[in-house]
Structure formats: structure tokens, C-alpha cells
């Protein structure tokens, strides 16, 4: 997709401009060992199932550092909406109209997200959706096109556990398969956290399969054409 604007629709205030300028630009070396990699596991909530059109409502993310999920620095931001979305989605996400309107301004929320994620490879379950929504919003509100690598847990899991794949489609299936107890779900952060626990299991399994770097994993996924984007 070609973005029509090189700059955000609305000019940023000075503080936000400074934050945008301070965002790290270095590329992450994917050849470092998987175990030492910093991963950013993310999930988004949107106003519908159309990644190109429906508004981004909230972002939840946790970081995995040195093979551990750090709980202190987890991210949970809601995006303020000009008008709240249809009642149907409120039922799915449990985010009421007033909560939607009470979030942060979209450009502030997205700055928080990018400051949290830094250059780390992103991990999500059905990552194509989250990737499209976030990249669209980053461009729209910040005028940025960030080229961070994305990894899809929904693709990696069947690759490493082919025997379980036929009966595991959704995140809940995989969590149940690995007997991972989760807290209340269906918030962006709770889903990101559940995905992160799944990712810990997957990274251990990758090591056993002699996949030792993120680059090896990336190549493997590409070679099998299981990676949908990038």
C-alpha cells in the first residue's frame, strides 16, 4: 500500500515533535542469539475487523528481555476517539464508549507505543492484522514508516509443533495445548501477555530445533512462505 502523505495530517505540538525526533532509529541485529533478544509482544483492539479502515482503540504490549517477561514496564494505552464505535464491538472488547473517548490523543498513545517497542522485533498472534493497523496509525498520526521486523506466533507455533497444528487455530487453542493458565482475557494487554507466555514456550522449542537466532527463524519462515508480509 502506498501512503498518500509524507507528513501527518495534523501538525504535531512541540513536545510530541521532540519525542518523535528522539525515537531510536538503530536497526536491531537479528543475528544475535534468540535467548538474549529483546522482543516486543503486542496486541491491538480496533473498532472492527477491517485493518485498513477501522479505528485503533487500544494497544497492549509487554517486553521479553533475556528470555523473561518483564511485568513492570508493560504498556497499556487507549486511543481517544472522535466518536465512539458501534455497539457490536463494545460487546467484543468490553471497551465502552466513554472509555474509548477517555483515552490518550492518538499521536501521544502511538509515541508511547514506539518508545516502548524501540527497534525490537514485534511479536503478535495473527501479526499481519496488528502490523497493518499499527503501521497505518503510525503513518497517519506521526508521519512515520517504521520498518521493524514482525514475527507471527500463529505461524511459528505450527512450524515448531506440527502435530498440534491441526487442532490449534486460535490463541486460546495454543494456550490450552500448552496448558498455559491465563488471567481474564480480551483486553489488548492481557492478550499480549498470553501471547508472550506462548512465545517463551516457542523460543525454547526453537532452541531445541537448532534455530538459534531471530534471523534463522525469519529466513525459515520466509522460505516456507508462511510469513505473510515483509
Amino acid at each position: 500500500m502506498i501512503w498518500p502523505f509524507a507528513k501527518p495530517l495534523l501538525p504535531l505540538d512541540a513536545a510530541s515533535s521532540a519525542r518523535r525526533a528522539a525515537l531510536p532509529r538503530h536497526k536491531v541485529d537479528l543475528r544475535q542469539p534468540l535467548a538474549g533478544m529483546r522482543w516486543c509482544v503486542v496486541d491491538v483492539e480496533t473498532g472492527g475487523l477491517d485493518a485498513q479502515r477501522d479505528p485503533l482503540l487500544s494497544i497492549g504490549a509487554v517486553a521479553i528481555e533475556q528470555g523473561r517477561i518483564a511485568l513492570d514496564a508493560s504498556l497499556e494505552v487507549g486511543l481517544m476517539q472522535a466518536q465512539s464505535t458501534a455497539a457490536a464491538n463494545i460487546l467484543i472488547h468490553g471497551i465502552s464508549g466513554s472509555e474509548q473517548r477517555a483515552g490518550q490523543a492518538p499521536h501521544t498513545a502511538l509515541l508511547s507505543w514506539l518508545e516502548f517497542a524501540q527497534g525490537a522485533p514485534r511479536v503478535a498472534f495473527h501479526a499481519a492484522f496488528d502490523q497493518t493497523v499499527l503501521q497505518r496509525a503510525e503513518h497517519e498520526h506521526l508521519g512515520l514508516s517504521i520498518a521493524a521486523p514482525w514475527f507471527d506466533a500463529a505461524v511459528v507455533a505450527p512450524l515448531l509443533f506440527p502435530a498440534a497444528a491441526p487442532h490449534c487455530r486460535h490463541l486460546d487453542d495454543w494456550l490450552a495445548h500448552f496448558d498455559i493458565a491465563v488471567f481474564a482475557r480480551h483486553g489488548a494487554l492481557a492478550d499480549a501477555y498470553a501471547t508472550a507466555e506462548l512465545w517463551l514456550v516457542l523460543m525454547q522449542a526453537a532452541g531445541r530445533e537448532n534455530i538459534l537466532t531471530a534471523q534463522q527463524l525469519h529466513k525459515l519462515l520466509r522460505a516456507r512462505r508462511w510469513l505473510s508480509a515483509n
Binding site: 518483564a70 497499556e76 488471567f183 481474564a184 483486553g187 492481557a190 507466555e197 517463551l200 514456550v201
Partner: protein, 629 residues
């Protein structure tokens, strides 16, 4: 604490809520747990992965098991314990700032929260509850469990609905009554003879017209100087409050409280049928140690003693419900059983002319000797005497047999192994006992060691205690002179391993009569009892009680106070579990035993049980070290 924290998000809250369902986080403040949550990270360990290696360096983090199972493995590859969800390790190493002694391996796929060591120290300093739990972990688990038990028993007591019973059910004897014209001397004499606190004055139709209680006598007769020839009607309380015999007990409680009276005549169709006293009602509400003791001492009729033995069981129940600890509870049960046995012995010996002039002493053995009786106790007793001819020996045995049968009727079954004072083998003179003990000490066979474990806990119950004291002093000298014997006893004690499991938490018995259980007595309490006995014999102590033996030994063996406290708590928790288990069985009418299925325990008690058995291992390790086994 919270003002330095990032704002809590939904993940922090969810983690907080999950942690606070577990001990010790349930007792900590929300701020403290939130602080913990915001300082941990989550790690995953696939089955067989090593979480922590034994090392010389202090561990870098505290592990809290989020889900899964972790095994502790010794240097020689033995799995010595398993930790489950909610448990923390390596507490000892972190507290002492030393390396972990064991290797920790994931027994199943496991997620853990990791708290960096520096943050662990901070939390210890900030949270009194957390500090308490970590430093006295068995103690705090126990307190937690005790609260749960109290709540459970309080409910059970309500269920009994005892205050709805009819008052008539409390009446144990015909009322003492007299006519209005009876002289005081006669009425008071009748009260004394019947050993009651009141006399009801009735008319010709047997309707109560007045009451006189012992309390009234002081003010109205003694202090007032009224001659004892005065008719009772002059000093009685006229028109006493009465209740129908089928009224509920609760009515009597209310009436007594309102009118400040202690005796209520019961009527049926207006006629006197009985009297209830405050004591009767209160006995129902709370049997007291003093009350039962007094009733036992007062009793002249051995036929009534079984009912009092039953009261001892009821009292144990109510004390258990009030949360009394096992050490005091077993001591109370033992001392009441002592009183009961003493009373039986007195009733059987005082009237036996064949015993006149003989010096003898009744010995309590086994758990009664140690003052550690639970509810499932058969008899273990013996007799020692100074000197006696054959006829006198026969008389002693005949007397002992009567006592054994009386005890049997009181719910202490005859000993299956025949360890009773009526058995000629165990009714011996001081010299014979010394010879028998010498034989066991010199012989050291399994049978000798078994006998030693029962008989060497002897304690004088009643009779001439100097005989028992002489035997104890002699035994201590003999045991100390024979280190080989103590070594054999230690080796024998160590063969009984606490049933901590490798695959599951516990090793369950292969005894088909009691499938899926562990024997709380043999595999739980006995390791402590055996070790304590050996420590006491080695130190020449005269104590027979396990906790007291351990306390004395700890001093002599330089065992730290904290370790000693953990041993005793563990031992008493096992005793408490036995009591609760046996009580539960008695309530449903099954004979009490010691076979507990650990799956029937709540998760907290299961954890404490594991911890208690771990302490049993520690005691054994100490024994093994002392005797180089």
C-alpha cells in the same frame, strides 16, 4: 511505597489478584503485593530444564512458581522434594546469603515469577507478613491453617443444634425434694448425701413451692444464725421459676441469665420431674477440664467412668474447635486420661486387701508415657513392684487385669500386642525390669529395639513413683554405657523414611487395607518420637515427652532455636492432623486410625504436611550425622 511506582495497569492488577489468592500474599497489603508484581519477571522452563544449580554464590532471584512443578534434586541425583504452584524457593539460601544446596529441575512445564535477590531483601524489610512467612514459613502456614480449622469447626458446632435439645435430656438423676415442714438439718443432710447443690420444696401434689440452694444457705442460715431445727419453708426461695421438661435447653439459658439463678426445677403436668443446674447447661456448652477432672475424682462408681471418658473426647473436639494447638491438646487429653486411669486404679486397689502393704507403681507406656495421646489410643501399660511373693504377684496381676478391663470399657481397647500390666511378662519387680532392659540393650535385635521404643518411654502414673524414678536413673546409666545400643536404635529409626514422593508429593502406602494413604503416626510422628528418645537416652534426660526431649537435646547438641522450633511445630502439626483425622472418623462412627489420604487435605494443609515431613527428614539427618549412619 506506591508513590514511586508506575501506575498499575490491568496486567499488574490481574497478577496481583492471582497472587493474593495464595499464602503469604493473601495476608500482605495490596501495595506490597503490587510492588512485588512490578518487580518480577516471568520465565518459562520446559520439563527437565534446570531452574537453579547448586552453587557457592547466593542465588540471584527468588522463584515463585506461577504454574507447574519443580523438583529439588541432591548432588547424588535423588529427588528429595517437590514444589507446586504458589511455592517459593530457595528461601533458605536467599535468607542466609549462601548458595543453593539443591538443583531445581522442572518436573513439568513450568512458569515462574522471578524476583531479583536485592528486591527480595527490600520486600523482606518492607512487609512484616512476607518477612514472617519466609523466616517462619512452617509457623505461618500453620497459623493460616489453624484459622481455617476454627472456622470449619465453629460451623460444625452450630450444626449440632445442641441448644434445641429438650431439657429433660440433661437430667441424670431423680430430683432431691422435700416437704415444707422438713427441718433444715434433715434437708441439708440429704443434699450432702446426694452431693447436689439444691433441694426443691414440694407440696403433697409434688408441685414445686420453693427451692433452697447451697448458696442460699450461707446468707440465710449460717450467717443469719438460724437454728437447724427451723423448717425449710422459712428460708427457701418461694415460687421458684420452673420450666416444662420438654422445653429446649436454650430456654433454660435465657431464664438463668435473666433471673440470675443457677437451678431450675423441671415440671411435667405441674409435678416436679427433675432439676437442671447451670453446670448441666454449661457442660453442654463447653466441657471444661476442671469439670471433667472433678467429675472423675468424685465418681465412686466405675460404671459411670465410660461416660466421663466420652466427655474427654467431646472436650477434645471442642478444644480443637477453639483452635488449641496440638501440644497442649495432647497434653490435656493425656492428663485427663491419667486422671481417669488413676481413678480406676484407686477404685480397684483401695478395696483389694491382697495389695495391702505392697509397694507398686503403675507405668504408662508409649504415647501415654510421652503425654502425647490422640483419640485412637489402645492401652500400653505395665506394673513395677518392690518385692512380692507368688501370691502377691497373682494379686497384683488380678488387680491389673480388672484395671485393664475397666480401661477397655472406657474406650481404651486392650493392647493387641499384650503390652498391659496384667501380662505376667510386664508385671515385674524392679530387679526383673532391670534384667529385661539389660537384655534388650545387649541384644539389639529388631524385637528388642521395638520393645525398647515402647517401654523406654515409661512414666509413673500412680502408686509408688520412686520405683519408676529408680528404674529411669538406672536405664539412663545403662544406655549411656552402651553406645552400640544407641547406634542400633538410630539405625533402626532411620529405616523409617518420611514418605515424601519423587513423582507425586507423597509416597502412598502399598497397604491394600488403606489404599492411597500415608500413615501419619508411623511415617509422620514416629521419626520425631524416635529421634527424641535417642537424644534423651544419650543425654541421660528423664523427660519422656517428645517436645520436651527435643528442647533439652537442642541445648546439649547446639541445635539452633529456630530449627528446634520448626521441628516441634512440624511434629505438632502432624499430631494435629492425626487428631483432626480421628475426630472426623469418630463423628461418622468409624473407628479412628492414622491413615490419611493427602488428597482430602486442602492445598494449604497439603503444603504444610510436606513441610512437616521435610522437617522429619531434617531430624533424621541430624541423627544420622550424630551416629555416622
Amino acid at each position: 511505597m506506591s508513590n514511586t511506582l508506575p501506575l498499575a495497569n490491568s496486567l499488574h492488577r490481574a497478577t496481583l489478584d492471582a497472587l493474593r489468592r495464595q499464602t503469604p500474599f493473601a495476608a500482605m497489603t495490596e501495595d506490597e503485593v503490587l510492588w512485588l508484581v512490578q518487580h518480577v519477571s516471568v520465565a518459562y522452563y520446559a520439563r527437565d530444564a534446570v531452574l537453579l544449580e547448586p552453587s557457592d554464590a547466593p542465588p540471584e532471584a527468588l522463584f515463585i512458581i506461577k504454574q507447574g512443578t519443580v523438583s529439588g534434586v541432591t548432588a547424588d541425583g535423588q529427588t528429595v522434594f517437590q514444589l507446586a504452584t504458589g511455592e517459593m524457593f530457595p528461601l533458605g539460601a536467599l535468607l542466609a546469603g549462601r548458595g543453593a544446596a539443591n538443583r531445581y529441575v522442572a518436573a513439568s512445564d513450568t512458569f515462574c515469577y522471578l524476583l531479583p535477590a536485592a528486591d527480595f531483601q527490600t520486600l523482606l524489610a518492607r512487609s512484616a507478613e512476607f518477612h514472617d512467612f519466609c523466616t517462619r514459613r512452617i509457623a505461618s502456614l500453620l497459623e493460616e491453617s489453624q484459622r481455617a480449622v476454627q472456622a470449619e469447626y465453629a460451623l460444625a458446632l452450630d450444626d449440632d443444634n445442641r441448644f434445641a435439645r429438650a431439657l429433660a435430656s440433661l437430667v441424670q438423676r431423680a430430683p432431691l425434694s422435700t416437704l415444707a415442714g422438713t427441718p433444715l438439718a434433715e434437708a441439708l443432710g440429704a443434699m450432702e448425701a446426694a452431693r447436689v447443690g439444691s433441694v426443691v420444696v414440694i407440696d403433697e401434689a409434688a408441685q414445686p413451692v420453693g427451692i433452697l440452694t447451697l448458696k442460699d444457705v450461707l446468707a440465710r442460715v449460717t450467717l443469719a444464725g438460724v437454728p437447724l431445727t427451723t423448717p425449710i419453708s422459712d428460708v427457701m426461695t418461694p415460687h421458684p421459676a420452673t420450666l416444662p421438661a420438654d422445653a429446649p435447653v436454650a430456654d433454660a439459658l435465657v431464664l438463668m441469665a435473666r433471673q440470675g439463678i443457677h437451678h431450675i426445677p423441671l415440671v411435667r403436668d405441674g409435678r416436679l420431674v427433675g432439676v437442671v443446674s447451670e453446670k448441666d447447661v454449661f457442660a453442654l456448652r463447653r466441657l471444661s477440664v476442671e469439670g471433667i477432672t472433678a467429675a472423675i475424682m468424685r465418681s465412686d462408681n466405675p460404671e459411670r467412668l465410660p461416660a466421663l471418658a466420652h466427655d474427654i473426647g467431646d472436650l477434645a473436639h471442642s478444644l480443637l474447635a477453639q483452635g488449641m494447638d496440638a501440644e497442649n491438646l495432647t497434653a490435656i487429653i493425656s492428663s485427663l486420661n491419667d486422671r481417669l486411669t488413676e481413678r480406676i486404679i484407686a477404685l480397684e486397689s483401695e478395696t483389694d486387701v491382697a495389695l495391702i502393704g505392697l509397694r507398686w507403681c503403675w507405668l504408662a507406656l508409649g504415647s501415654e508415657g510421652r503425654l502425647e495421646q490422640t483419640l485412637a489410643t489402645d492401652q500400653d501399660n505395665a506394673l513395677i513392684f518392690a518385692a512380692a511373693d507368688d501370691a502377691q504377684r497373682d494379686a497384683l496381676r488380678a488387680f491389673a487385669l480388672r484395671v485393664n478391663h475397666r480401661l477397655d470399657a472406657c474406650g481404651f481397647p486392650l493392647c493387641k500386642g499384650g503390652i498391659m500390666a496384667s501380662n505376667p511378662k510386664w508385671c515385674l519387680s524392679l530387679a526383673d525390669w532391670q534384667q529385661q532392659f539389660t537384655q534388650w540393650i545387649d541384644h539389639g535385635s529388631p524385637e528388642s529395639l521395638l520393645h525398647a521404643s515402647i517401654f523406654f518411654d515409661f512414666r509413673a502414673l500412680t502408686g509408688d513413683a520412686t520405683l519408676a524414678l529408680d528404674l529411669r536413673a538406672w536405664l539412663n546409666r545403662a544406655a549411656q554405657k552402651n553406645p552400640r545400643f544407641l547406634h542400633q536404635m538410630a539405625g533402626n529409626a532411620l529405616r523409617n523414611r518420611p514418605p515424601l514422593g519423587v513423582v507425586r508429593d507423597f509416597v502412598l502406602t502399598d497397604d491394600t487395607a488403606h489404599p492411597n494413604t500415608i500413615d501419619l503416626k508411623l511415617n509422620g510422628a514416629t521419626p520425631f518420637v524416635d529421634a527424641a528418645r535417642i537424644f534423651a537416652l544419650a543425654a541421660g534426660s528423664t523427660q519422656t515427652n517428645t517436645a520436651k526431649r527435643l528442647r533439652e537435646a537442642a541445648h546439649a547438641l547446639h541445635i539452633p532455636d529456630t530449627e528446634l522450633a520448626d521441628w516441634n511445630r512440624a511434629f505438632h502439626f502432624l499430631q494435629l492432623l492425626r487428631l483432626r483425622h480421628q475426630h472426623g472418623q469418630q463423628r461418622v462412627g468409624t473407628p479412628p486410625d492414622n491413615h490419611l489420604n493427602p488428597d482430602t487435605l486442602n492445598p494449604l494443609d497439603r503444603r504444610i504436611l510436606k513441610e512437616a515431613l521435610r522437617q522429619a527428614r531434617k531430624v533424621q539427618a541430624r541423627l544420622a550425622m550424630d551416629y555416622k549412619l
